[in-house]
Amino acid sequence: MAAAATCGAGAGSPGSVAAAVDRSSATSFQRKGPRAGGADGGGPRLVSIAGTRPSVRNGQLLVSTGLPALDQLLGGGLAVGTVLLIEEDKYNIYSPLLFKYFLAEGIVSGHTLLVASAREHPAGILQELPAPLLDDSYEKEFDEDGCNHKTPDSSMKMKIAWRYQLLPKMEAGPVSSSRFGHYYDTSKKIPQELLRTAKWHGFFLPERISPPLTVEPCHLTHGYMKLLEFIKKIVSEEGVDGSHPQKKTKNILRIGIQSLGSPLWGDDACCAEACDDSHSLTKFLYVLRGLVRASLSACLVTVPAHLIQNKAITARVTSLSDTVVGLESFVGSERETNPLYKDYHGLIHIRQIPRLNNLICDESDVKDLAFKLKRKLFTIERLHLPPDLSDTVSRESKQDVAVPAPRPGRGCSGLAEGEKHLDF
């Protein structure tokens, strides 16, 4: 069934790709680029670009989202040529953080950035980026943090399982900047010298917008139209769409768009259910996807999905994006005080993963994922239910989890009776 006789223009075997994963610059094996070609089905032979690696599964070129934990859940990273949509959490606390991680990763890897926002000036956003944790400083700082990644005392020799002592220790900490995916310290700002070397383009809506005199040709909101034209201009200037074939060094363009769909962009999807420009946001996403597919860029868009009144638009926006991740923070909700969730700051939902050049996608086994933010680490872990140790503890926590909607009237007294809790 799977055509064993595929010619060289198509997919290679997984074995050969795996060899290229570790050191993408050291092997002579080069994967064909994914979609930087065009209608001919092939693509230019890509020399390895800094900050990218080919996917083990289908040879797709991947970039890091800035969060190694999220990279793992997305199947290794964000594929070049796709759009990652982040559904913002209710009070917009953690989604700007993911946005900043994405941009900071771009600076550390040397990619070009395009930052678009209607609320803050892009220069201000870049000043606020977290500092990366690089090689030399990580050893002592990471141990201070008190994470339990500490390796066991190496002076203690293993007596029975002595063979295991010879195995290399698992490296779970921050890594050097030539690797894929970095860790960031949210309490420190990015050093100025890194920022100065970075190449970035900013789009701040209040500066670009001019009062529209005529109706837009494609009936998009004025802000969206201007942003699309800007992105197209930068894509062709930077040559990421293959328009300058003589340019030897290729680079990735990282596009970050903040709070798309909010009223600040001039879109009333969040204000009214039946809005006039009900197709503006979806048309924008479609054309954005076309632009990103045809070039070596990766795009991250944050959308306040909980504000959009018309649920049909939310569904369409989800299906128009490639990867969709939803954030749900516990701040201000009942779960903040729930003992079940005390270690975590919120839940993360991977709603959609694209199937690129493949029939299946890399879905992880686990659907219940929670995240927690420490100073130097944003971890995403599987949500475990604690074991039932005693009657009262388990009944309390089970009652809280079983109730889906918050009930303001319930006090502590209602916990013992209340729900019909089957107890065997």
């Binding site: 595929t6 040709p217 048309k283 029939l359």
Partner: protein
């Protein structure tokens, strides 16, 4: 293409039914594997294919097609495949005014009244060759997918009209086939989409639904696919197809599917031999008819 799906539908590349509208419907899962199946199936059956690809790029279909045994590049060069890569051509029409009529003209309009230019494109692509002798068998139109047209400002009625026109031309006049994919969200959130799905279900001869499992997420089994054959409502077409959907004897055969890297295995709900159950149900239905 997947031989299990071919067995279930009782078709082979040599023996293809003509004049049919097949609707591919997916709910809570991704039904694009069905599109890949039909694309490779019809290319192997030496039919002339017009593929309107609205959501993915050419290279994506090409790479998956190679896993399934067809080369889209070769088919395109030979003239067997006419490919409209909307993601790329939309950029041309979006940023500058087109010179003449363009199949994706609806992108420039606020709320497109009809998809006339797209229909003209399809008609042009699939018209029979002059010269008498035909290199390819009957024409096929594949659309992936129709729900995205609603996101781009086209009304559901316009999409239904477009399919009706295409069916009249491709299925009835040219005796070809039409295969289209829609997303079915199930809940009543998207009314336009529900309108589109029910309108299309009414018109189609064969509906293939790919659904997520009712019990939730399972790593190995990706979902279930159920084909339902529908007897044509017009009195003139009395086929020997079994009316499996509405007899109440057997609901549409539920088939669980598991997708491996390059193929899809189908195994019947509760049985290990897929064909056995299908034949058995068909036998009972035939007895009672």
């Amino acid at each position: 293409m997947f031989p299990e799906l071919n067995n279930l539908l009782n078709i082979t590349p040599d023996k293809v039914e003509q004049g049919k509208l097949t609707l591919l419907c997916d709910a809570k899962t991704d039904g694009s594997f069905l599109v890949h199946h039909f694309l490779s199936f019809f290319l192997k059956a030496k039919c002339k294919v017009c593929f309107v690809a609205l959501v993915q790029s050419f290279s994506h279909y090409n790479i998956v097609g190679q896993k399934l045994g067809v080369s889209l590049t070769t088919a395109w060069e030979r003239g067997q495949l006419v490919f409209l890569e909307a993601l790329k051509t939309s950029l041309d029409i979006f940023f500058q005014t087109p010179a003449g009529p363009h199949p994706l003209q609806f992108l420039r309009e606020a709320s497109a009244r009809n998809l006339q230019p797209l229909y003209a494109f399809v008609q042009e692509a699939l018209k029979p060759e002059d010269g008498g002798e035909a290199t390819w068998r009957h024409p096929v139109l594949l659309v992936d997918d129709l729900s995205v047209l609603l996101s781009l400002g086209v009304r559901a009625v316009a999409v239904l009209d477009f399919i009706h026109y295409c069916r009249a031309t491709v299925c009835t006049e040219l005796k070809g086939n039409l295969v289209a994919l829609v997303h079915d969200s199930g809940d009543a959130a998207d009314e336009e989409n529900d309108l589109l799905v029910s309108g299309l279900s009414h018109q189609s001869h064969l509906i293939l639904r790919a659904e997520g499992l009712a019990t939730g997420f399972c790593k190995d089994v990706h979902g279930q696919a159920s084909p339902s054959r529908v007897i044509g409502v017009r009195a003139a077409c009395v086929h020997s197809h079994m009316w499996i959907q509405n007899t109440g004897l057997a609901d549409s055969t539920q088939v669980h599917r598991k997708k491996a890297k390059g193929n899809t295995q189908k195994y019947c709900h509760g049985f290990s031999l897929g064909d056995f159950s299908f034949i058995l149900l068909g036998y009972f239905a035939f007895m009672f008819l």
